[in-house]
């Protein structure tokens, strides 16, 4: 594939058609098209409205607990004996992950648009919990579509959603994971067009979702950039985040994209290895295609049928990725590398033991890459890892991987 021309800035996309180079766009059924155009118009009004920004700011501060801390992981750094490792502590947000950032933004938009019913898809359940949370906070009914496989492996989150008053609808099509949940949410939306707001959880889907979700998540990177300048007096050498759909990653990356000396690495789920089909490394082993409203790298066969993939982490178990990541991959600005299930599991345990922090399995993928590169880096060099969520939800999965019963 030809590399697109290097832009002057990596931070200006998407264009008016919602494209990042050849990626993105609006590949949806006509029934949804007027809704998406309306959403785009309302989003464009909201993002420059001081009242909207002030309300979001207040909720972020007093409800979600922002800014999240940038924490020097001294134990892990000492253990690895190389570069200084910092964690951006999105796990400390209300609901336990970065997902709340996007949900607060979108629920305010839904309210502004006069919508009275919220639907969402979820993989690991983190976005489902965050959606159910903001729906409870604003008194709106919420339906969460979740793959049947994920319902089984993320049962604590299923119960949390129910406690919060959401209805969880298991989806048994396909492998019963995030892709299938998203299909079903789109079917709901196409049926209930008048009153329903579709709260997409990742920086993917038809325009304007990828841009909008990125904007709601970019405080992660904006804060981290200011915090590292304050704490270290310099920019980091490397920043790392896990990429499923890629919302926590684009949130961290975007404010750093034009800092050309900062190396940016996105971690894909390598599953059981890239040789077979048991992984979710769409940008390393897939090719561009069209699914869920956008063109992006996808795991698919030679006939253009989408493959299910596999990851130990439900939040990374998606055969596509947000379109901006696909563009950043092709321009070469961001490196996307796979981390295997086993490596993530090892990093999960290492982080828990050396830092007293149980990371989400998604975040453990990012930590695993830091574990690989830190030892060969200088002690004066700095890595920031996005600790996108806490791992309480994953203890059952980890126990069974370790052959233990709890």
């Amino acid at each position: 594939m030809n590399k697109p021309a290097m832009p002057n800035s990596f931070r200006t996309g998407p264009d008016e058609q919602g494209m990042f180079g050849i990626f993105g766009g609006r590949f949806v059924a006509e029934t949804l098209m007027p809704l998406i155009l309306d959403l785009e118009e309302k989003w464009n009004e909201a993002k420059t409205d001081p009242a909207f920004r002030a309300e979001l700011q207040a909720l972020s501060t007093f409800y979600a607990g922002r800014p999240s801390k940038l924490y020097f992981a001294e134990g892990l750094t000492r253990h690895l004996g190389g570069a200084k490792i910092y964690f951006k502590r999105e796990d400390l947000n209300h609901t336990g992950s970065h997902k709340i950032n996007n949900c607060l933004g979108q629920i305010l938009l839904a309210k502004r648009m006069g919508k009275t019913r919220i639907i969402a898809e979820t993989g690991a359940g983190q976005h489902g919990v965050a959606s159910a949370t903001v729906a409870a906070r604003f008194g709106l009914p919420c339906v969460v579509y979740m793959g049947a496989t994920d319902v089984a492996r993320q049962s604590p989150n299923v119960f949390r959603m129910k406690l919060l008053g959401a209805e969880v609808k298991p989806v048994s099509a396909g492998h019963g994971t995030l892709k299938d949940a998203m299909n079903e949410a789109l079917r709901d939306w196409v049926t209930n067009v008048e009153d329903t707001y579709y709260l997409i959880g990742t920086a993917a889907g038809p325009h304007p979702y990828p841009e909008m979700v990125r904007e709601f998540q970019s405080p992660i990177g904006t804060e981290a950039r200011a915090q590292i300048l304050e704490q270290e007096g310099r920019l980091p050498d490397v920043i790392i985040a896990a990429v499923g759909g890629g919302s926590n990653a684009i949130g961290l990356f975007h404010p750093f994209l034009d800092d050309k000396d900062v190396r940016i690495v996105g971690i894909e789920a390598g599953g059981r290895g890239l040789d077979g089909i048991e992984h979710c490394a769409s940008m390393n082993a897939g090719r561009p295609g069209v699914l869920h409203g956008n063109r992006t790298y996808l795991l698919q066969n030679e006939d253009g049928q989408i493959l299910d993939g596999h990851s130990i982490s439900a939040g990374l178990d998606y055969p596509g990725v947000g379109p901006e990541h696909s563009w950043l991959r092709d321009t070469g600005r961001v490196d996307y590398v796979p981390v295997l299930d086993d490596e993530a599991l090892e990093a999960f345990q290492l982080c828990t033991r050396t830092e007293g922090i149980i990371p989400a399995l998604e975040s453990a993928h990012a930590i695993a890459h830091a574990v690989k590169i830190a030892p060969s880096m200088g002690k004066d060099e700095v890595i920031i890892v996005n600790l996108s969520g806490r791992g309480d939800k994953d203890v059952h999965t980890v126990a069974s991987m370790m052959g233990m019963e709890i």
Binding site: Q17, G25, R26, F27, V28, A29, E30, T31, L32, M33, P34, L35, A173, G174, K179, N183, L186, R187, V190, T191, N192, V193, R287, G289, V290, L291, H292, G293, R295, L298, Q300, E302, D303, G304, Q305, I306
Partner: protein, 280 residues
Amino acid sequence: MTETRIDRRMGKLKAEGRPALVTYFMGGDPDYDTSLSIMKALGRSGADIIELGMPFSDPMADGPAIQAAGLRSLKGGQTLVRTLQMAADFRKDDDETPIVLMGYYNPIYIYGVERFLTDAKASGIDGLIVVDLPPEMDEELCVPALRAGINFIRLATPTTDDKRLPKVLQNTSGFVYYVSMTGITGSALADTGKVAEAVRRIKQHTDLPVCVGFGVKTAEQARTIGASADGVVVGTAIVNAVANVLGPDGRRTADPAEAVATLVSGLAQGVRQARLAAAE
């Protein structure tokens, strides 16, 4: 663009004073040979236009019946190459019944748009309905298809208001497919009065025939909808007729092609009485 089989067939039916019966089936469901026999049965038993479904792993606008049919078809080894082959095989006996390919964009994109259009034309395809390509994405496939002499049939929906209709109709040819309700395929039929009103609204913006689909299952419904529309589309009912004779263990309780022929003969009767219904 030059006249297609769709234009000729629609012109003929207009002269006869009756609406078209447009039938959808899933190509390759449950296997190639059975599916080809179903396609031939459609042509024999009164279908005026055939929509040949291209299976896709993630059919976001389809209900459970067509989702399941697509999965059966993919499991049976269907690919876009074989779907085009099916059209070509059908054309050996029938060079008049228009064939419209219906499905999602990704398999076409992966096949390669120019190669696809060349092969589709050579296989006797007359039109395309691609659910996830709205007019905003016309440069992807719609405009190249028109250049290749293939109709691009656009869906108009209850959410397509008067302001948006001209954009939707701009590059549409062959006919306009009015989706009778917001929702997925196979849902309950919308209020027929509202459908007639919507057809009138669309006709104020275009001279193209307007066919109505989503929710039409019986001959009676075909007759009622056909009173105001230029065509009636039936899909899920046909897909169900196939599914109903496939036992859970794969053993068939009847010939799927016969089951489809029986259903379609009844629907064909329905559309032939439609204008009588309108006159009542």
